[in-house]
Assembly symmetry: C2
Homo-oligomer: 349 residues x 2
DNA sequence: CAAGTTTTGAGGTGCGCAACTAAAATTCTG
DNA sequence: CAGAATTTTAGTTGCGCACCTCAAAACTTG
């Protein structure tokens, strides 16, 4: 057995460092906060004392003394599919947590699917916000609005769906092409050499995340699984009823339909259609986002795998990134990377 | 568009609440900290004011005023497989983070595989620790040591491997039987109806996590995939050289070997053997823990899937759980639940 | 109504730090 | 080498809260 050197039971304070270095509190403060006006010799003395005592600034005290507070806006879609409802709830929780840290989050609901409305909201956002997280639409006006916010010194984080060419600080969400490739590999391997067709259902191809997913899906499918033929992409507009009809049509037209990849919402429609057709077990269905519904379909065996992004992680990560930016602190990249979760019946949380 | 009610630019303080409720600071303090000696009517008035102003205690100020500090021990194996090395590094990072929050983590390395040594270390732990996180061995002496710590008021968290019958505060790690089931489902589906045998390699069956994984694996394999026959479990003692020989033996003896599930370490041995045999592509190999090695095997196609637990998440979660317990704060269960990650070539982080 | 009990008010202290002002030490200039 | 200019250091103050004391006020009960 070995153990790291024991540290003092009570942490060292700035004052301890000052005493140890034989200088005043103010001087130590300058050194640790990298302000100038301290002789190199003194700096060295202080740094030696810091190292010797294992001094770490108490973040609670520092924050209190600084007294800064932050205000962020989260711009979320007013639409209400299960994923967005979950996300909103998680943002709310994050807001409660942040409230104790001198950070305030206002949730702004908006019709995200209309670029002009979304851009308008972004443009009219109160200048009181130091940071904005937005589920963005990749459209020139939206991009311009993001760039303008950034230009005004507002930190902008794109959430779930990115606008890569904008000047946003960071994208918090999954790598959608990779998610599509993941779905494709699962599809190809679950079908293990069988011949047939595979359908791809998107919400709308004007949504960047859906497009990217289907791109990744096709990429792998065509290069690695020549036994499977992809049908033209169908747009279900994230609407269950419409998606149901489209799926029924697919099932009727294609006796050799082996798989369905849904890279958007409207899953209830797909489940209905598959179960009604009696081919639920034989057709491999892979979809996105773990919700109360998709979870049920997975457990029941109608759905074969769910590709997920954790909305709680995304909400917290966005808040942490904004906070770190405002406090000029570094961010831990691998903690903030949003994973592409794969859920089977067996590893559901 | 709609937005939540805008809150004051600067947060409400205790004093604001006192003024709004028409009582003194001391009374508000009594109410918010649930001290007694306040009439119900007054409590109600204060609570109304709190709600109206959206008052949240400033955690920085509260911590500073309370001035409490914490000290935790993380008992980790001195052995050095990649997963444990990663975990140790993540614990170290967590320690750096906690140091700013008046929390200190000492890392204690110990030969975890010897129950007597482990129990001895736990028994001899300095009484200065308010919390302990330990990669435990499910053994009566270890359990007794955990129970004794708990009895002394020390919060104990089991990490990665649990001792369910002990009085530990919480287990931070994945559900191992579920992880085994997940591996089994992947194996069964990737092999999609082919007939043959499947080998299971564990580190040691005296490790609870390995046993549980292989239990879950067999459970699903036998009930859902009658086309696959599981060979008796082989113990590779988490040693690459030994595992390599065992795998070579398997490959030589079983021409119909279709899959290998490794629920422990020693992966380099398996990769070597598979690649040497020339059957790497045809045999489905599923293993645990994403490391620099297993990652390479997955990208190269030798390995087909990796079941992972995120060591960073586990380290942070253990620390948060201990911290929350010491400060008598609630914990957010779904943030602390450790997920069973599935990694394919396409969704590697 | 007096004596007791409970509830509330006012005030103080200190946590560890950031940020400010004032003073001291050093360097520069002629 | 005096005096000004500059650099370096010391000494305060206050952030918002928890926790404490002591006394005043409000109720209760016999």
């Amino acid at each position: 057995m070995s153990s790291d050197a024991a540290q003092p039971a009570v942490r060292a304070t700035l004052e301890d460092v000052a005493r140890a270095a034989g200088v005043s509190l103010a001087t130590v403060d300058r050194v640790v906060n990298r302000r100038e006006g301290v002789r190199a010799k003194t700096v060295a003395r202080v740094e030696a004392a810091v190292a010797k005592l294992g001094y770490h600034a108490d973040v609670a005290a520092a924050r209190l003394a600084r007294g800064q507070s932050f205000r962020f806006a989260f711009v979320l879609p007013s639409g209400s599919n299960s994923f967005m409802t979950n996300l909103t709830e998680q943002v709310q929780r994050t807001a409660d947590w942040l409230a104790g840290q001198r950070g305030f989050i206002d949730i702004v609901h908006v019709d995200v699917f209309d670029p002009d409305v979304l851009a308008g909201v972004l443009e009219d956002l109160s200048p009181a916000y130091q940071g904005v997280a937005v589920i963005a639409l990749d459209h020139p006006r939206v991009r311009a609005a993001i760039d303008e916010l950034t230009g005004r010194g507002v930190a902008v984080v794109t959430l779930v769906s990115d606008v890569p060419s904008s000047r946003r600080l960071r994208y918090v969400g999954i790598d959608n092409p990779a998610a599509g490739r993941t779905a494709s590999t699962l599809m190809g391997r679950f079908l293990a050499g069988r011949e047939g067709t595979v359908a791809v259902i998107a919400g709308s191809l004007s949504l960047r995340d859906h497009t990217e997913r289907q791109f990744g899906f096709h990429q792998i499918l065509s290069s690695e699984y020549p036994n499977l033929r992809a049908l033209p992409v169908i747009e279900g507009r994230d609407d269950s009823a419409r998606t149901r009809e489209l799926t029924l049509g697919l099932l009727a037209r294609h006796a050799d339909l082996r798989g369905i990849y849904c890279c958007g919402a409207g899953n209830r429609g797909i489940a209905d259609a598959l179960e009604a057709s009696g081919r639920a077990r034989e057709v491999v269905w892979i979809t996105h986002e773990l919700t109360q519904h998709t979870r049920r379909f997975l457990v029941r065996g109608t759905c074969d795998a769910i590709i997920n992004q954790d909305p709680g992680h995304e909400a917290r990560s966005a808040a942490r990134v904004l906070l770190a930016h405002c406090m000029e602190e570094p961010i831990s990249h691998d903690q903030e990377r949003i994973r592409i979760d794969i859920f089977l019946r067996d590893n559901l949380p």
